[in-house]
């Protein structure tokens, strides 16, 4: 088998390319450029939260952040309320979003470390608090982002959506940290065997803390961008990113058992998740058929990617 097929990320990209081709063909060749642009825009949000989730999942079995949707909603709600649509407050908004991310990340990790709660329980319980805070802080009123920020979020540079550029930048930073940095080695070592890593002198708890902070900050940034992109924060805006963040990690070839991460695969998977819905919508599939087919396709890719990896 050619070595390229052994790369775990290749299956997500093959699937994304195939769905793209089928969608364009179904639309009788129209709008390939428009579809690619839309995939880049919407894929970026899934990729940002996916890269964050990947870091946590790489920490090994049981590690996952289920508070991503609530963090997105809380960060977007508080940031947009702080800006209140006033021009010149964009940095203030970003600052609020980042603080929310740091705050929820720290709270999550405190629950996990101090109370020794399993991450699934800790982040799920914490997310109820974050969501309630978001409801309580603004009662679901939709505040518009400042115009310049909305223009940035929906705009493009060199024909690439700005949100995708932000996503690529964040992904690149994580990729470098994982592939070239000591921290990345520590993270993967902790994910492969925390006991061995600890005995080898890896500051496992510090590495875990950084991972949980990073995923929350990434979710906060994604929420902030999404609200700016779509004209305001809504209380249910994060809902679809819970399963999405986990799906793109798995489809992208990151091992659910931890200790092995893969940034390029996240992007392939994020495009795929957007394109498969577009493809089935273009085909005119009903909601039921669409859900079933999406599930079947995802299972197919995960099986393909994991068998190849095991035999490699």
């Amino acid at each position: 088998m050619p070595s390229i097929l052994r790369r775990p990320w290749i299956w997500a990209w093959l699937a994304a390319t195939a769905t793209f081709a089928v969608t364009v063909a179904l639309g009788s060749g129209r709008g390939a450029a428009g579809l690619a642009y839309a995939a880049l825009s919407f894929g970026a949000f899934a990729a940002i939260v996916g890269v964050g989730q990947m870091l946590v999942i790489s920490l090994g079995p049981g590690n996952v952040d289920l508070s991503i949707p609530a963090t997105m909603t809380l960060s977007a709600t508080l940031a947009l309320k702080a800006m209140d649509g006033v021009p010149g407050t964009e940095l203030l908004g970003l600052g609020v979003a980042l603080l929310v991310g740091l705050g929820t990340g720290a709270a999550n990790f405190a629950l996990i470390l101090l109370l020794r709660l399993p991450p699934i329980i800790a982040t799920l319980a914490a997310s109820l608090i974050y969501q309630s805070l978001a409801i309580w802080s603004n009662r679901g009123l939709r505040v518009k982002p400042p115009e310049a920020l909305a223009e940035f979020a929906t705009g493009r540079t060199l024909d690439i959506p700005n949100v995708a550029l932000v996503g690529l930048l964040l992904s690149l930073a994580v990729w470098v940290a994982l592939e070239r940095g000591v921290w990345g080695r520590w993270l993967l070592a902790a994910g492969q065997n925390p006991r061995a890593a600890r005995l080898a002198g890896v500051p496992v708890e510090r590495v875990r803390a950084t991972a949980y902070l990073t995923v929350s900050v990434f979710a906060a940034v994604a929420g902030f961008l999404l609200a700016s992109f779509s004209g305001g924060a809504a209380l249910n805006m994060g809902a679809e990113y819970l399963l999405m963040s986990i799906a793109v990690v798995i489809i992208g070839g990151t091992s659910i058992a931890g200790g092995f991460s893969n940034v390029p695969g996240i992007w392939g998977a994020a495009f795929f998740m957007f394109l498969v819905v577009s493809m089935l919508n273009t085909y005119g599939a009903g909601a039921g058929a669409r859900s079933v087919l999406t599930g079947v396709i995802i299972i197919g890719i995960v099986i393909a990617a994991s068998t190849k990896r095991n035999h490699a």
Partner: protein, 346 residues
């Protein structure tokens, strides 16, 4: 002396008030002053539900202050789960409420708990998310009619017909099915219309924006967009981002949608129609419940009118709607009486 006179007049005025109150009560049936009412709500996570809860609290507080009911509290479950809401209803029965008003997580899954409430002599009134248990009252919206009216409006604006894009709601819900059925029926009747594409927007701007953006590149020119509420602005943004001609998008009464419409109208005379169920339907449910508790003969199935915004009413509705909220109407006791009268004569 003056003191006594003051006291006397105070007593006189007071008893006049009592007398007037007595007359009003005679008109409205038995007194409900000692009755306790609870709202069981399954979900609070969007702006419509938030305004709905506010409307209920506002109405309940006023009714309490006027001595019409003894207590009116609202309870919301955290997880939008039928099992959780059923347990909540059982708790409310044990707490001895005289009536439970329900916005239900499921039309059928709560029927057991609802039956228990009825057996315990509790009046159960469901609205928006209704329950099918025969002992409960239902305040429902004619969602099919909502679908039909959208297509009929587009037909009046687009006599030559054209391609339509349909944005559907949350898959698998009865509301989505009903609005869709109404749309489908009228599209069949108007030969010149064709549904060129359909996406599920889940009644959320972000989801609709994403779905439409993914489908739009493969679609021909779109003349009109039929929606379910909460998704129109997202669709408009998707059309704008793709650089496509703006179709007539039927909106769903959200403030940001209405403001966008007003801007588009000022800019190039863009016209459309907006309609949705007003979150104030909770206040209607409250008054209907009060009427039932007062011993009025109320049919089990009632219909709420939907709140429509037209070009003529746009400016005034927008002015009354708080920024980022949903256009609303608070219903009064008289409104409830006329809705009941309509249902009785039908």
């Amino acid at each position: 002396m003056t003191h006594d006179k003051l006291l006397l007049s105070a007593i006189l005025i007071g008893s006049c008030g009592l007398a007037v109150g007595g007359v009003a009560q005679a008109q409205d049936g038995a007194s409900t002053a000692d009755k306790r009412v609870a709202l069981s709500n399954n979900y609070a996570g969007n702006s419509w539900r938030q305004v709905m809860l506010q409307s209920f609290d506002e109405t309940a507080k006023q009714a309490k202050a006027r001595g019409i009911v003894a207590e009116a509290d609202s309870y919301t479950t955290s997880e939008n789960q039928a099992t959780e809401q059923a347990a909540q209803i059982q708790n409310l029965i044990l707490q001895g409420y005289d009536a439970i008003i329900i916005d239900a997580a499921s039309p059928t899954a709560l029927n057991g708990a609802v039956q228990e409430a009825c057996d315990a002599g509790v009046t159960v009134v469901s609205f928006d998310g209704i329950v099918t248990a025969p002992c409960a009252w239902r305040i429902a919206v004619d969602f099919e009619e909502m679908g039909r009216q959208q297509v009929d409006y587009l037909a009046s604006r687009l006599p030559d017909g054209g391609n339509l894009l349909e944005i559907r709601g949350l898959a698998g819900t009865s509301v989505d099915e009903q609005i869709h059925a109404g749309i489908e029926k009228r599209v069949e009747a108007h030969d010149d219309f064709r549904i060129a594409g359909s996406v599920h927007g889940d009644w959320a701007q972000e989801v609709a924006q994403k779905g439409v953006s993914g489908l739009l590149p493969s679609l021909p020119d779109i003349a009109g967009v039929v929606t379910q509420g909460g998704d129109g602005y997202g669709a408009a943004q998707a059309f704008e981002a793709a650089g496509r001609d703006m179709p007539i998008i039927v909106l769903g009464n959200r403030q940001d949608e209405l403001q966008w419409w007003q801007e588009q109208y000022a800019d190039h005379g863009y016209q459309t129609l907006s309609m949705s169920i007003a979150p104030g339907v909770a206040s209607l449910a409250f008054w209907v419940t009060q009427q039932i508790l007062a011993g009025k003969d109320v049919p089990k199935d009632l219909t709420v009118p939907f709140l429509k915004v037209t070009q003529e009413t746009l400016d005034s509705v927008l002015e009354e709607t708080p920024k980022g909220s949903v256009a609303n109407t608070i219903y009064t006791q008289q409104d409830a009486q006329s809705v009941i009268a309509d249902a009785t004569t039908r």
